[in-house]
């Protein structure tokens, strides 16, 4: 087993889905969290000057979704064959694309609320309905069906980060099938343990 070190800030953000994969697989790793003050001195160490970065026996893998895909493969959470891996990949990309339309940097509060509502209505909720359809078609609790894979954990992580961050944290009220998926992910032994023990973080 390689030695793993994950470097990020002390937030959930884009690293939490990686941390949850480690938790699900029960694999140990060094969970490094740099403060904003510490970051400038470590920035030159990172291949692209950004985090998260996963060190695998000293080799760097940067880019959060490349890290997720690597860990899912390593921990056999990628659906077991190339086609399932491609489906998980696709669902991850669609999710990322939909949520990246949210503008966190808008300073005018009223405008921010309006933009947020618009992104949810036009991009996010329609995609979440499609995910629910996929889960039902595959006969599951999970996106691939009965067996959990990395994308279920990514889904949980994305919703988890947003639920605390958004003023009205009730994204899943319209999505009962996803609500079940989230509850099942939270019950997984490794994940339940991590959720209890993880450092508190703002978002």
């Amino acid at each position: 087993m390689p030695t793993y070190k994950l470097c990020y800030f002390n937030i959930r953000g884009y690293a939490e889905m990686c941390r949850l994969l480690f938790a699900e697989a029960g694999v140990e790793y060094e969970d490094i969290r740099y403060t904003r003050e510490e970051w400038p001195e470590h920035k030159p160490e990172m291949l692209f000057g950004q985090m998260p970065v996963l060190f695998v026996d000293g080799e760097q893998i940067a880019h959060s979704r490349a890290i997720v895909r690597y860990l899912a493969r390593e921990f056999k959470l990628d659906g077991g064959n190339s086609l399932n891996a491609a489906k998980c990949d696709m669902w991850g990309e669609v999710l990322y694309e939909a949520f990246s339309k949210i503008s966190f940097s808008e300073e005018d509060e009223a405008k921010k609320v309006q933009l947020m509502a618009s992104v949810f209505k036009e991009h996010i909720h329609p995609k979440l309905y499609k995910y629910e359809k996929i889960i039902k078609e595959n006969g599951g609790t999970y996106l691939l069906g009965e067996k959990i894979s990395g994308i279920d954990i990514v889904m949980f992580s994305t919703l988890d980060v947003l639920n605390d961050y958004l003023p009205d944290g009730k994204i899943l009220e319209q999505h009962p099938t996803l609500k079940i998926l989230v509850e099942e992910v939270k019950k997984r032994p490794g994940i339940a343990k991590w959720l209890k023990e993880r450092p508190a973080a703002e978002y």
Partner: protein, 200 residues
Amino acid sequence: MSQYRLKLIYFPHMGREEIARVMLAYAGMEYEDVRIPYAKWPEMKPTMPFSQLPVLEVNGHTICQSGAIVRYIAKLCGFNGSDFIQEAKADMICECCFDIMMRFPWTEENEQKKKEVTEKLLLGSIPDSLKQLEVMLTNGGEYFVGKLTYADVALMNAGQYLLEQKEDILDATPKLKEHLRKIENIPGIAKWLSVRPGGK
């Protein structure tokens, strides 16, 4: 190879899908190369799983999202490295190439603003990213991860577009420029470049 019935569906421009087409050409894999005229898209849109293109149909399954398609085709055609670490590095480098391309103001309607943003990119953040990619190439050896992977093809794809925008953009990263030409001249790839819609 004949066990896969492949159909790539996209618009009539190159984009990221082109990375998949290059790999398929190199591997000699047959596929249906469907290009939807823009005017036909509104009626087709509801029939696609996530209402978007590109889409890959493989043996009755549908995969959307260009990144997912590229990564799957890479596995099929042997462009995904020899182990998980090589694959992850190729993934990371390809994502960097995607990031570079995503910075362009594709949806900006104001022509003047579009021009200004583009010029700023070509003089600033893009050359910086190219320098980082060149460091990665130096560490990788003959190819980005030691053997030909989709990272090299992604670099060629992005590099060709960048050169069209600014012909000297790769002059500050001569190794990267040389690498791009090397990939273009690989026989299986050079042949595709000479016949593909949209040209070289």
